[in-house]
């Protein structure tokens, strides 16, 4: 079943070199760029003031506490997925399964080499995408639905390119939804902390927005610099 689904998506992506290249480009940084854009949009969504004008509406302050919570969940989920990848050690389909690859062999070899050291289960991209989708659905259903559809699309691309088995994506999606749901459940407990953090943006906007930019920039870069810094500090 898993291999059948993988082949089905792979055939769809590999129908021409152009679609394959497009999938390669889109599946790498695009999900993270989407996350950065959605987080920023969510920060400015909602009504001004401290109390919503109608039931079901949310204020900007309420949204902002949830944005910080989503960002924290993204980091927790991503680190969790990276940790689990080292624990299960499942090879990726592109190194373990015959796929249709209608591009230059040298280009594909470079892609394969970049994945040799990293295991497949669970998908860190899926964790990130579904943490985001769950968080956004909680705040704004229409926007959340768009993010969910985009997340599924990006997840399918990664299956079709042979970066992940369908089960990796499933597991990643489940972890993502779980992490964000737990975070939402815990929100009342940490609400005061989150709210005071949001207030700092009002009092020290220059410093806080500059720092926020660095966080979003790191998100876009898949926390690469953060991991390098941690690995250097920890030796």
């Amino acid at each position: 079943m898993e291999t059948w689904f993988l082949q089905l998506i792979n055939h769809w992506i590999a129908r021409s070199p152009a679609t394959f290249y497009q999938a390669l480009t889109m599946s790498d940084r695009m999900p993270w760029l989407m996350a950065a854009i959605v987080i920023t949009a969510l920060w400015y969504a909602g009504e001004r003031g401290t109390v919503p004008t109608a039931p079901g509406k949310r204020t900007r302050l309420q949204n902002r506490t949830l944005v910080i919570l989503t960002l924290a969940s993204l980091m927790v989920g991503f680190i969790l997925a990276k940790g689990l990848q080292g624990f299960w050690q499942r090879p990726r389909p592109l190194n373990d399964f015959p796929l249709q690859v209608p591009i230059e062999p040298s280009v594909w070899e470079a892609v394969r080499q970049s994945f040799f050291a990293v295991d497949s289960f669970p998908s860190d991209h899926a964790v990130m995408l579904f943490v985001l989708a769950t968080g956004v659905i909680y705040v704004n259903k229409r926007m959340g639905l768009i993010v969910l559809v985009a997340s599924i699309y990006f997840a399918l691309l990664r299956i079709g390119l042979g970066f992940h088995w369908p089960l990796d994506i499933w597991a990643g999606a489940c972890i993502g939804v779980l992490v964000m749901s737990v975070a939402i459940l815990l929100e009342p407990i940490v609400h005061r902390l989150l709210f005071s953090l949001v207030l700092q943006f009002e009092y020290y906007p220059q410093v806080m927005y500059a720092l926020a930019f660095l966080v979003v920039f790191e998100l876009w870069r898949k926390f690469e610099d953060l991991f390098v810094l941690v690995s250097r500090v920890s030796g």
């Binding site: 400015y44 009002e202 930019f213």
Partner: protein
């Protein structure tokens, strides 16, 4: 005693290359970090003047003026950078590291990567100098010392770039002149550019959900040396 510009580059190179870590720090600073500092500076100015305690017309006007300067600084810096890039293609002057024997205390692999990335582009006029000094002129009025800070950062970057053998002093001087000229031109024409800046600022107020993510893309693009913006312009112009 007359010192030619090759000697200046070699002197700066000797200072930077005296210590391997200083050289690596210079490489990092003039690489990705250089382009990350700029968005932070724009964000700083964009939010300066905003106070949670005082919300009167005067404070709003101060914020508006600062934000207008950020837009104009971005405009002048982008144009200066694009012109400098165009000029470097036109003059095709080889970079100092191609012509001079410089000290390079890093692995050959790292250095060859840099040579491959920069070696194909000309050095005259300095694009980084043009980029930094165009915005320094425009941001000068945004706050106490912000223009001097920008110019100071620009000076550090251009000296490091000379020491690394990326540019000659004349390239830097030409870049600074181009940047200052463009920045001054934009600053003088700022009232005439109201037709551009006012609607954009108004849209930030009315549609923040769209405008701020868009602004984020522009800031990300700065960290990519404005590759996306130039690619879009090239596609639109059919180049």
């Amino acid at each position: 005693m007359f010192i030619n510009e090759q000697q200046v580059v070699q002197l700066l190179n000797q200072i930077i290359a005296a210590n391997q870590w200083v050289f690596i720090a210079a490489l990092q600073l003039t690489g990705e970090l250089l382009w990350l500092v700029n968005p932070l500076l724009f964000i700083w100015v964009w939010y300066s003047g905003a106070s949670p305690h005082v919300q009167n017309t005067r404070s709003r006007e101060a914020v508006h003026a600062n934000r207008q300067r950020v837009l104009l600084a971005f405009l002048s810096a982008s144009v200066a950078f694009a012109l400098a890039r165009f000029g470097s293609g036109l003059f095709a002057r080889p970079r100092p590291f191609v012509e001079l024997a410089l000290q390079v205390p890093v692995s050959d692999e790292i250095w060859q990567g840099i040579v491959a990335a920069l070696g194909s582009t000309g050095s005259f006029p300095g694009d980084v100098a043009a980029f930094w000094f165009a915005q320094a002129v425009v941001l000068r009025g945004a706050g106490r010392g912000i223009g001097w800070l920008t110019a100071g950062i620009g000076f550090v970057f251009v000296f490091l770039r000379m020491g690394l053998g990326y540019e000659y002093p004349t390239d830097v001087i030409a870049g600074v002149c181009l940047g200052v000229l463009l920045g001054t031109a934009v600053l003088l024409a700022r009232h005439r550019l109201n037709w551009l800046t006012r609607p954009v600022l108004m849209m930030f107020g009315r549609f923040p959900v769209i405008m701020y993510p868009l602004a984020l893309l522009f800031l990300f693009d700065i960290t990519q040396r404005m590759a996306w913006l130039f690619a879009i312009i090239a596609v639109l112009l059919g180049i």
